[in-house]
Symmetry: C2
């Protein structure tokens, strides 16, 4: 699956993932109105609004980008109807030949991680049948439990040729409280990165491993250091745009071949119509605004990489 | 909600939570056969088997214990049908007046944690309606993101009078890889525990905080040290029985009032019929075996506490 991701990045010339994190406040009024008229101001109504929004966003951007990243929390908050739309979004993305990264940040003790791995990347064995479940291509994983909490995810990736992005250094303001704690003179996230490198060496594609890392866009110095520790791992970089990361800051996350990183933007794309510079699209033009925001983000990042 | 948990522990004299982590391999053949005949060897069939199993286990134990703890991964592995049964299990537990601890171990950056908090403990605002979602009483939370990843869970707890158990030191063999890393001479899990104490002080019930900690049963020395750092927090203790923790080891996790901790057992109760000493119940007597295992666990733990 890492090969597919790389090929698609090369084809689109856009190391970009569209973060499908649909808050109700992002969704245009006309979509919510229609969904609520049909299904009421209920979890079902909210989920229907999310689905119509996602579908329009995918339709408007799928030819420009390699991947989408639905954030499961935004669906889980609407319960079962929300999770049905999470699944529909995965399936719709795959039908458009997009790589689907499930941003689920799961992690637990071994036998429990195995259940999550089956649910998101693998197949559930029921009697004599192997049943696909959510069936993402990649997921994000929380490493707090250590190797035996991560190993079941790695095992399923080997079997199914799927991939992981493991949290190393997150983009939120208080990420440092635990992740930056110095252990033997180096921050904890470095210890985690070294483990990711070890896990990744077990799962090599042609040039890159199936096992990548999540490192926030707001730390170019850390990006540079992590690039050295993880030369063969893809880095998923959240925090561009709305969270403050700039294209110039992203250069250290990439290898000299222009590969090795993929940058997420959520709000900056899916709610572009609310951002400065995109006012002309208005609410009804939200999908066109998202398309333009992808083009602008691609040009911004590729421009910065060329001047490396 | 911490008050309800404490009252129920006092009433039942059983600081025990039944971990509903239903692997298909635990479920007796006659239940699987009936479910598969009805719905096929499908995710729906697997979920139906889990539901019938859970229902019988709750019916056999609800008068003896204060709480159940469904592990969401075991449901998520069967996709939407599995998650529907997760929700039915929560609702059924609540209908029996049990405290329901959702073992979800969620955690993310702030706005995403807020969505998880709404989905599991709060109410989703859809138009003018506030809709309950999964509606557990407590959930487990992963602290790797730091304060701004935990704060949204704390805020929802304050509003809804619900509670958290935050991962401090987990019971799995490689938990030490990151959690035991020395930072300024003390292990990371101590730093986390101190933060849990701070968060907990914002959410006090009468004697105990709504914000508790997860600390594995296999470390009595750590339990003792954590009890001092977290005098007002309930400690959820996994790892008793099948994972190797003994009743004698559990004493340091409790305060001198006999309160302050609640011990989980999953396999040891729900698959008791497969354990040595319970053979006489057989597969069809799985629920009676579970009831007896709860009684044995209660007597084992209370016996150890009395001799403190």
């Amino acid at each position: 699956m890492i090969q597919k991701l790389i090929h698609k990045i090369e084809d689109t010339k856009a190391p970009i993932v569209v973060g499908l994190d649909p808050m109700l406040s992002y969704i245009p009024e006309h979509i919510k109105k229609e969904a609520f008229e049909k299904l009421g101001e209920t979890l079902e109504g909210a989920a229907e609004a999310v689905w119509q929004y996602n579908k329009a966003l995918i339709d408007a951007t799928f030819d420009l980008v390699p991947a989408i990243k639905p954030q499961i929390a935004m669906y889980e908050q609407f319960g079962i109807p929300g999770l049905i739309v999470f699944k529909k979004t995965i399936d719709y993305g795959r039908s458009k030949d997009l790589v689907v990264i499930g941003d689920v940040k799961r992690g637990d003790i071994g036998s429990t991680s195995e259940a999550y791995a089956i649910g998101h990347l693998g197949m559930a064995q029921v009697g004599n049948n192997r049943c696909p479940v959510f069936n993402e291509d990649f997921i994000t994983v929380n490493p707090y439990f250590g190797t035996d909490g991560v190993a079941p995810f790695v095992d399923v990736c080997k079997k199914e040729k799927k991939g992981l992005f493991i949290l190393v250094k997150t983009s939120n303001p208080s990420s440092g409280e635990f992740q930056d704690q110095l252990t033997g003179g180096r921050p904890l996230y470095k210890v985690v990165a070294e483990m990711v490198d070890q896990w990744g060496q077990q799962c090599m594609g042609t040039d890159y491993s199936y096992i990548g890392a999540v490192i926030g866009a707001t730390y170019p110095e850390i990006g540079k250091a992590m690039r050295r520790i993880l030369p063969k791992s893809y880095i998923l970089v959240p925090g561009y745009g709305a969270q403050g990361g700039k294209a110039e800051d992203l250069k250290p996350y990439f290898n000299s071949d222009g590969l090795g990183a993929i940058v997420n933007s959520s709000r900056g794309i899916i709610a572009a119509y609310k951002q400065p510079g995109y006012e002309k699209y208005g609410e009804t033009g939200f999908a066109d605004a998202a398309r333009q925001a992808v083009i602008d983000m691609r040009d911004d990042i590729m421009g910065a990489l060329v001047t490396k």
